[in-house]
Symmetry: C2
Subunit: 229 residues, 2 copies
């Protein structure tokens, strides 16, 4: 997580990525892209082959991912991909709501003119994507928007937490994006967030972001009644 951004400072000393780190990142990607399903057992010996790493490093990777909340290890029983219940997903998103609210507020305080321009551009592209029915593209833009806001805010502590939380519910989030009518709901919310940040209005930015994520929580709660997976 933090190590993803380690390169930006002290670029001189590159310190080889270390096998354990590589194994960790590879495994994280695999879980996040759904190659291992929630609840699935992660056998160390198998991971050794898959990741081309020694058991020692596999173990270290599993321990790290456990700390991130992606896997769960039980003594003498091995590691499983963590299965987050709908109730947990709601809790996680609640925390994300307030922390991303903080990030949005800070972005509104710090935004520079060229960043504001980029925000507006994303907003325009989003509207076009929705009007054209290109939901996949809209989803990509959504990711890009949130990333840009975090970049503007420069709040490393909040960043780390949001990243961790987001990882824990990729699966749910994927299901969410399939909900019909979601873009029509979220587009105006995104536009309000963009406007507030552009106008240097922290309170409005926080409020808009919270409202946006609150509606995600509502959608999650709605999904619960159909398929709790």
């Amino acid at each position: 997580m933090a190590s993803d951004h380690d390169t930006d400072r002290r670029a001189a000393r590159v310190t080889a990525p270390s096998t354990a780190t590589q194994a960790r990142d590879t495994l994280r990607d695999a879980i996040l892209r759904g190659e291992y399903l929630p609840g699935e057992r992660l056998v160390e010996a198998q991971l050794c082959e898959r990741l081309e790493a020694s058991r020692f490093n596999v173990r270290a990777a599993l321990q790290d991912l456990a700390a991130e909340g992606l896997v769960e290890v039980q003594r003498n029983r091995g590691a499983h991909v963590r299965k987050v219940s709908m109730a947990e997903a709601v809790e996680i998103t609640e925390v994300r709501m307030v922390v991303e609210g903080l990030i949005a507020a800070r972005a509104a305080e710090r935004v520079e003119p060229d960043q504001a321009t980029e925000l507006d551009e994303i907003g325009v592209l989003m509207r076009r994507a929705v009007e054209a029915g290109e939901y996949r593209r809209y989803s990509d833009l959504n990711v890009r928007l949130h990333a840009l806001i975090r970049q503007i805010a420069e709040h490393r502590t909040a960043d780390r937490i949001v990243e961790t939380l987001r990882g824990q519910l990729v699966r749910h989030q994927y299901m969410l994006s399939l909900l019909p009518g979601r873009p029509q709901t979220s587009l105006p919310q995104h536009e309000r967030i963009i406007a507030a940040i552009r106008d240097h209005d922290p309170k409005a930015a926080e409020g808009a972001m919270r409202e946006h994520i609150a509606s995600v929580i509502e959608a999650l709660r709605g999904m619960d009644h159909f398929g709790p997976a």
Copy 2:
């Protein structure tokens, strides 16, 4: 972190604490009580004696604490107690502000009559402690108040995060409590938080909590000018 509370569910299966877990908890306590100073190097061999554990388990403990943000490990260079700058301390407290705000709001939604009574009791004791100049006692009550609120809220995700963040700045928090005039400032804030939760007013509870922690941030920023240590 989570394992501290693991006993509450599935109490039947006790699963021995495991050497690694014990080592981790012991070392965390040692760091938190200041036996190792920020920036101090943690040599594996020394920790083996101190914790009466093998190097294998010491390593696992260090890795865990690194994930918690208490120590920092550099490849081939060993582990140090993490030194959090004042800027980071402010960031961390900002996140704590919004997450504890969420917790307070939820506590206001869920509080039961007997819990409300306990809150009020703590409020009374706090006022008495301040009036009597018993600041150490006031500080203990402060901890108890925040813990009770979290217990009422029952928000495990938020709990975990707050606990992690709090651990990262025990040192700063300790310095804070020494600031003269702090109790006079924080007492009315605490009383407002208690009143809002007791009255089932989530918005007011969140606002009061945020205001309270915002003033902690101000105090932190003020400290910066004296001893950045």
